[in-house]
Symmetry: C2
């Protein structure tokens, strides 16, 4: 499998100079996916890519179990009538926002929200036209909230916290990119229902804590920002977007949390009996992530030799390469297998590469795939009672066979740490204060590859002016505001609101 | 979650007398799935059901890893043109069979095979009609075999062994039943390619060995039979069906293996360079299983108190119930949590039920869900240094706290063994020799709830006559023939072919 790719990938594009070429090249050369499937934007996950994604899923599932979420699995297909229900809700919320009134005062109207334009339709089965047209889920609010009223009766049933990992679909008309913009999306979604707004807010806080824990494993610094109103998920009270930062300075939303208050509950009639025996609507949240997490890992950590996998999600954490010397008295292949067995016993994911190839060719293959640690086993190493460790992040040193397991653990930890240091240095370099406004324009023009932060408490018109002047979008209010008030970029009034602007995927 | 169901399930139907009512009742009462989703035949997997299914998947995945299969994930949508390719192949094979000629001598014709009638079509996305109509995979031969020619170049790439666990779709017009006949199917499929027919045959042997290992965990005896020609998967050289036996004697195909020879390879142009530098077509196999495995577990092991989960796939293997006595000096709740912690440490899946409910109500809940082992922790048990173990298969005895872990392991093993003994006894009772043929009919009529075996080497017409006389279908040739020849049921000629007949789901 994959001979052709292995031969073809000799000339890896430069990541720094040609990221838009480097990315698709490396995704295929490392055999994460195959893009040659005959539908655009629907890639085949190859074993190495799928294993990586499943390891990321595994971390997510562990977090869900830790925080008392339960895993469910909903049907892929959703009847059209539920989309209409959602559209009516979204249209009403939009009008309420525009007119500055309470959405409860408005009635649903037949109005087209955007969703219909983004879904794949199933209207035929076999030779029949279906009585009830259905669509492929783009996300599962409507499917789930149809069932919630059947599951929630009283306050004792709350909070209800469920999640699923499923395939979702968006009819993308923009250019597709593996993991980043695809038409079939490997998607994680948690949905919760609570007794009141405050409890739902606590859930959002827990979600953001989970994000931090996951990103630590992925060695990915992220920006967390409360999206501006015009970029809030329709149907949400507010949305917090979690963005990774790609090497070209563009932000990539890898996760998002939505606080729905009781807006969906009212549309889907999700009520419960309170302790006081009255009926109340639940307050809801969602937390979503996708295969973009893998796209961010690829983009952030890779280099001109290929991927660099964070140890927590590396399908192969350690590759053991025996060095075979003619006339050697030591069986390095046998020792390599012993080393691998010991490490597997200790819980590491290990592969022995005893192919009859030049070591350089082997190293090249595993560098492209981003295996964090390579152990070379040569006759002299064996004689000296050690193996030679080459870190994918750079640097080589022997690890004594005595204490092999702890030596490997420490080395992998050091690699993860190095990835975090590099990634944070990148973010510190990329995120800069927005130049001041002077004489109708920015004092100095914005630079390519940067993200800007600014104290901001201005109007939507001010925001629009800044977006036009920079060619960038408002990511929103960083969840960590300035510790002390600063003058607003637009009005000069003091504010602690720290707003981020970026070009985003 | 689920209060309503818990209240409603007081009157469980009798399994022996009303299996067709018992089954759907128990599936919902145990909270495996919720059938109230607004599309018929598409159930919502609830946490308990999904966890069970994922544990079954976990066993399958372990077997796949053990046998060097690699996990992939293919797109759900398949372009229509590939279905036409498949249809042409199937139609040609069918004609070749009917005309008794080599299929290679026939050319493809525009002919409609059955598949088009069974798939869901995606012809629209957003407001557009798609240029290329697509369908939801019913299985992934066409999707995968489109990619195989890109992955297979030479004999060094073979065998290629991949698998995936995905959602598949069939437009069912028959009555749907949870797990057994659904429209969205949780499906496992392994696809392999080999240098020649013999190597593909060895793969089928490995598949059947894997089936045995999995069924041991599920405590399910199965029948393995090479399907008659008229029941062979279209496109296969031969099909081996693996059937579980439900309490009503009907067989339920839970898995199947197909030997494709080089028939698909010729249709999809999958060739490789041999060691002799010539080009040859690969030989292929598939091995499929589905959520029907869970349906069989429910049907085979349950009783009038609910499910009985085989320990290997029980989401909760042990439930610990503290008995709270007034004025007791022992904190049984604290001891219960200690017991649970010790067992979790040892790798068991454990839950403490410290709800403030009457013990009888608790026991009832966990019996419905089929938890194999209940540990009761009362003040006297604590004083005597033991816990009281109640097996879901019947029987109670104390387990000393000293050696708790090994006591629980032995008890769970005993429960699994008991399930196997019961299931095998059921099969031995159900499978009977077919009554002899006499004076134009069977000597004694067939009985309800039975499966029949017979020595058979007759013609298709003989088979048809028997099917008509019994109202049953030919399952095919058991993979274990008679050790000694017997006279054929139809012709009287000696044969070791052991043919099975049943009514099937």
């Amino acid at each position: 499998m994959g001979k052709k790719v292995a031969k073809a990938n000799r000339g890896i594009p430069s990541k720094a100079e040609a990221f838009t070429e480097w990315y698709p090249f490396i995704v295929e050369a490392a055999e994460l996916v195959d893009k040659r499937y005959p539908i655009k934007g629907m890639d085949v996950w190859r074993p190495y890519g799928w294993k990586t994604m499943r390891l990321i899923d595994g971390l997510t599932h562990a977090e869900m179990e830790r925080t008392d979420h339960e895993e469910v699995n909903f049907p892929l297909l959703i009847p059209e009538v539920l989309l209409e229900k959602e559209n009516a809700l979204v249209a009403r919320l939009k009008r309420a926002r525009e007119e500055g009134v309470d959405p409860d005062e408005l009635r649903d109207e037949e109005e087209e929200a955007g969703f219909k334009k983004e879904v794949y339709w199933v209207r035929h089965a076999g030779e029949n036209e279906l009585d009830v047209p259905m669509f492929l889920r783009p996300t599962s609010e409507t499917a789930m909230y149809t069932m919630f009223p059947l599951w929630i009766r009283s306050h004792a049933d709350l909070p209800l916290k469920v999640y699923q990992t499923v395939n979702t679909f968006r009819y993308e008309t923009k250019q597709t990119r593996s993991f980043i913009r695809v038409r079939e999306i490997h998607f994680f979604e948690a949905h919760t229902a609570h007794v009141d707004e405050a409890d739902a807010t606590r859930q959002i806080e827990q979600d953001l804590d989970i994000v931090d824990r996951l990103m630590h494993h992925l060695c990915l610094p992220v920006l967390k920002a409360k999206r501006p109103v015009w970029d809030t998920f329709p149907g949400a009270w507010y949305t917090i977007g979690i963005d990774a930062i790609m090497p070209n300075g563009r932000t990539l939303q890898v996760a998002s949390c939505h606080h729905y208050r009781d807006q969906w509950a009212k549309a889907f009639d999700i009520t419960y009996e309170t302790k006081e025996a009255t009926q109340a609507h639940v307050h809801q949240t969602t937390y979503g992530m996708s295969e973009r997490l893998l796209g961010a890992v690829v983009g952030m950590h890779g280099d001109d030799s290929g991927l660099i996998m964070p140890p927590a999600i590396a399908p192969i954490q350690v590759v053991v390469c025996p060095l075979v010397r003619k006339n050697a008295t030591v069986d390095t292949v046998a020792v390599s297998h012993d080393v691998a067995d010991r490490l597997r016993q200790a819980g590491f994911r290990v592969k022995v590469d005893d192919r009859d190839l030049h070591p350089g060719q082997k190293y090249y293959d595993w560098e492209i795939k981003g295996v964090p640690l390579r152990l070379e086993v040569g006759p002299r190493d064996v004689e000296q009672g050690s193996v030679f460790a080459a870190r994918r992040t750079g640097g080589k040193s022997p690890i004594p066979m005595d204490g092999l397991e702890s030596g490997v653990r420490e080395t992998l930890d050091a690699i993860a740490k190095e990835l975090r240091v590099r990634a944070h240095a990148h973010v510190d370099e990329v995120v800069q204060p927005l130049p001041a406004w002077k004489d109708g324009s920015l004092e100095t023009p914005v630079e390519d590859g940067r993200i800007y932060e600014l104290a901001f408490d201005g109007s939507d018109a001010d925001a629009e002016r800044l977006e036009r002047a920079t060619g960038m979008g408002f990511l929103g209010d960083a969840t960590e505001p300035y510790p002390e008030p600063r003058p607003c970029h637009a009005t000069g009034e003091p504010t602690t609101r720290r707003v981020l602007m970026s070009r985003s995927y």
